[in-house]
Symmetry: C2
């Protein structure tokens, strides 16, 4: 499987997302999201993890944080972290992500959204895994920060992945942990 | 399975762990570790996630952080977070964890360690899952912060769980993401 490359891309979306009151906001970039998503992307060989934010100050902050590990003192102190963080790419919006992947593959990626909601029609993780194994072209997995992706995004995606169910009714995982579990379910070798 | 309760407990160990030079240290408690581990523990119905640190200032900090969400303003703003964070229990050391679980179950837990190393004899995640399903008594899963659990801990455990393999040789997941993936592999309903 995946003889050439893993066809799954990830985007951590900071706009448009919901806040706890259901309003559309641009959320702040969280330093540990960058590290955790980069490290998980590297572990599962996801080519690029896009950090989506239209806010220039947040873009500058993100570049400063990643440059610390990829270009400055962190690179020597901690070379493993550079390998991971160079998989991050900061972009303005979701259309920029689509254009970037289309430039690489010559085709628009299929778009999957994630949600913690269990009341929507969804693509099972097993079916999603089988789709990736068929090598049918690139797929972009959208992860929402804050209280999740805005409805305007959800309406435009090709599929919504089923919510992660643990053992209890509670499913309020952090986006970092949810991303790691999804990558493991969709891509790990030993399934 | 697990008609009565999930028999798996988790301990996030801050001492004794290794630093990048292989020296024994007490690592600092990380705020997002507390939130992510608590939320994942609640999702997978792990009864208690122990936060192990002998440092009194770190214990006080941890209690202050959790009290914010369990007793003060955070409780009203964000009731889901209280449900999760009240599963955390701060303790001095690993023997205190064993004593606590033994008090609950009347038997010492089996102890599993985690590692990112692939050159040690290990218990597969499938076998670990089947052990838990047999309901053979409590199990304590030790997660190391920093550069991992000290050799003195590793020598005393009953089993070392196999390292998480993604799709690449790189396996430097954060302890938050590794914990979430392990809980999912060992406990999720849909495997």
């Amino acid at each position: 499987m995946f003889k050439k490359r893993v066809p799954l891309y990830v985007a951590l979306v900071h706009y448009p997302v919901l806040n706890r009151r259901g309003e559309i906001i641009a959320s702040a970039v969280t330093n540990l999201d960058l590290h955790d998503l980069a490290r998980a992307s590297c572990t599962y060989d996801i080519p690029i993890c896009y950090i989506v934010t239209p806010l220039k100050d947040q873009q500058i902050l993100t570049k400063r944080l990643t440059d610390h590990w990829c270009k400055r003192i962190g690179k020597d102190l901690h070379p493993d972290r550079e390998l991971a963080l160079r998989r991050l790419r900061v972009v303005d919006d979701i259309p920029s992500v689509l254009k970037d992947i289309e430039g690489e593959w010559g085709q628009r990626p299929r778009i999957w959204a994630t949600t913690a909601r269990t009341d929507v029609e969804s693509l099972s993780h097993g079916d999603a895994r089988r789709y990736l194994e068929k090598d049918s072209g690139p797929v972009l997995l959208l992860l929402g920060t804050g209280w999740g992706l805005a409805p305007s995004v959800m309406r435009e995606v090709d599929d919504i992945l089923e919510a992660i169910q643990g053992k209890a009714a509670y499913n309020h995982l952090s986006v970092r942990c949810a991303a790691a579990i999804l990558m493991d379910r969709l891509l790990s070798l030993d399934r």
